[in-house]
């Protein structure tokens, strides 16, 4: 069996080469004929589709519908559920005072600040790691990738404990230095910074890895040619490194944006959205509205709004990657 597999593998390389030179085969068949011909395929794809449709997509459609009603624990019990049109959306986004609107703005700030530091730190560290002839690279890399490798859930809880006002690591360290303790999680503004710090710690390793991969694929020749022309390190960075990093960093940054925007664990584990909703971002806010107030329709409304935002970001992502590919071809 093993020998047969190896033969198949070497044969495949040979055939792949030949296949590229064969002309395509054209056939016109009717729809029913095509369905019959590919009968087997349906057996393969249907199980997964059925599961996804019934368990996920149908509920999502149901959720969109929910957002136009006023379903919550009270209306459900008293049978006063009715269609309310866009009232929920107006309630959420209508005024600048609206709580959800504030949460949405905070989510944007959270996302932008985090991704900025992820990319910048990731890049700086990758550049440092990429110096030729640097010793102990492997050790550095292992340390640096730990925040990414350890499950977010665990590290979020660990940070929460370190931020504890009396027994937490940070305040005890400050006490050692004779400094006053910081209200890491009990002061609204500080808490927001505290969770951002955690998320930066969590997110920069990924960017470092992507940047490292991209840096390694830049040929040394470019730099050598630039050296011969007498280019300064800044010029080399600006005109060689940065442009060649773009194809890898840009998609990674957009991925990071999506992940950061929808991140739930970090803030929920550490502050639960508090104190007094000071750290609520959309994902935690929706969860809290659902679990504490049982406001089903409002939660569904928030879902829809977030979905629309994410679809827009994803579409931007697709356009950007298409543009990058077009550039590459040149």
């Amino acid at each position: 069996m093993k020998k047969w597999r190896e033969e198949v593998k070497s044969l495949s390389i040979k055939i792949l080469h030949e296949e590229k030179q064969m002309p395509p085969l054209l056939e016109k068949t009717s729809l029913i004929q095509r369905i019959k011909k590919n009968k087997v395929a349906y057996f393969y794809v249907l199980p997964a589709l059925v599961v996804v449709f019934t368990v996920s997509l149908f509920p999502i459609a149901y959720g969109i519908g929910l957002s136009f009603f006023n379903l919550n624990l009270y209306t459900m019990g008293s049978g006063r559920v009715k269609f309310v049109g866009l009232k929920n959306y107006v309630k959420a986004l209508g005024s600048l005072d609206a709580e959800f609107f504030a949460v949405l703005m905070r989510t944007f700030i959270w996302t932008v600040v985090n991704v900025f530091f992820h990319v910048v730190l990731g890049l700086i560290i990758a550049l440092a790691l990429n110096r030729p002839k640097l010793k102990w690279k492997g050790i550095y890399r292992t340390f640096i990738i730990l925040p990414w490798a350890v499950p977010q859930f665990v590290t979020a809880l660990v940070w929460k404990m370190m931020y504890h006002e009396q027994f937490g690591f940070f305040n005890q360290f400050l006490k050692l230095l004779g400094l006053p303790p910081v209200q890491w999680l009990t002061n609204g503004k500080i808490a927001f910074i505290a969770v951002i710090i955690v998320n930066i710690w969590l997110g920069f390793p990924f960017m470092t890895m992507v940047a490292t991969g991209a840096l390694q694929s830049i040929s040394r020749e470019y730099y050598e040619a630039a050296d011969m022309d007498g280019a300064s390190p800044w010029q080399k960075f600006r005109y060689i490194t940065l442009p060649l990093l773009k194809p890898a960093m840009l998609p990674a940054a957009i991925l990071g944006t999506i992940w950061t925007f929808t991140n739930f664990n970090v803030i929920y584990m550490i502050t639960g959205g508090g104190p007094a909703k000071a750290t609520e971002i959309v994902s935690t806010y929706q969860f809290n509205v659902l679990t504490r107030q049982n406001a089903y329709s409002m939660a569904a409304t928030y879902s829809v709004i977030v979905s629309i935002i994410l679809i827009i970001i994803t579409l931007i992502n697709m356009k950007v990657t298409k543009a990058l590919h077009a550039e590459e071809v040149d």
Binding site: L16, V45, V52, I60, L66, L129, L146, M161, L176, W201
Partner: protein, 280 residues
């Protein structure tokens, strides 16, 4: 000469910077290890330590002999393992067909997966909660495995299809000529060749239920079905009965398998993520 010293200083600074960064990055991990291996008289301590004062395995022993912890561990394994097997099976079958066949509805199927991936993970949560309440299947292993499988299906299908696409079709055509059935081709040729992609996808699928809190919290009210995530979250919040040392030991046990997997497979995982992103 000046150039050489400049270079040396440059390297010194670089090393200094990297060492500093590594130390900062390592602090939380260091703290977990420190706390887990330290024997404490009180539940929490006001002393500041760099190394454990009384190194011990006691916390680990306490955790591993804690009946609730073992129950959570069992549940997490059932959920994560069950989801991985179930989702991977369905996804591999689908990915194979999408990669090899051209049939009416192929584009629609793939498009619906793409759309699903664009939505936040909580999009289906509210309705799912209502539906499950309605159907009364709240605390069952199977319903949660279904939910997690559905949530990860799109990613799995896309990832695997992308990998299948890179395997030349001609091998199968040769096997067809030899009289092999489609299913035989699938199981005996495609699957073994796709092992790397299967491994990476499996790691991803496993991570979701293993570390999830929100979904388990919403759908599990029966304490005997709680997951590690729920259990540890409870321990973290309540240091009046559970010492931080015990919590840290439990966290390490929860985190260790995944950490090792991610460290070992890091290159493939990150490669897979960014390539997948580019393909859109």
């Amino acid at each position: 000469m000046v150039a050489k010293t400049k270079e040396k200083i440059g390297y010194l600074l670089t090393h200094g910077f990297l060492i500093f960064t590594c130390l900062l990055t390592f602090i939380p991990i260091w703290w977990v290890l420190l706390t887990a291996f330290d024997k404490r008289v009180s539940l929490v301590s006001t002393e500041f330590m760099i190394l454990p004062k009384n190194p011990t395995f006691d916390n680990f022993v306490e955790v591993l002999s804690h009946p609730k912890f073992l129950m959570w561990l069992k549940n997490s394994f059932i959920f994560a393992g069950g989801t991985t097997l179930f989702a991977l099976t369905l996804a591999t079958l689908s990915a194979y067909a999408y990669s090899r066949f051209d049939f009416p509805g192929k584009k629609a199927g793939l498009a619906s997966y793409v759309i699903y991936m664009m939505l936040p993970t909580t999009a289906a949560l509210v309705p799912q909660l209502l539906i499950i309440k309605y159907l009364g299947i709240k605390n069952s292993y199977f319903s949660l495995i279904l939910i997690w499988s559905a949530a990860n299906m799109a990613f799995a299908v896309w990832n695997l299809k992308g990998y299948f696409d890179t395997i030349p079709k001609s091998i199968e055509e040769a096997a067809i000529i030899d009289g092999a059935s489609r299913f035989q081709i699938f199981t005996m040729i495609m699957l073994p060749l796709a092992r790397p992609a299967l491994a990476i996808t499996a790691i991803f699928i496993f991570t979701a239920p293993w570390t999830d809190y929100a979904t388990s919290y919403l759908f599990l009210t029966d304490g005997s079905k709680f997951t590690l995530a729920q259990g540890l979250f409870g321990w973290a919040a309540d240091f009046k009965t559970v010492s931080w040392g015990v919590f840290c030991a439990g966290s390490i046990i929860m985190a260790l398998p995944l950490t090792i997997l991610y460290l070992v497979f890091q290159k493939y995982i990150i490669g897979g993520l960014t390539v997948g992103g580019v393909k859109g």
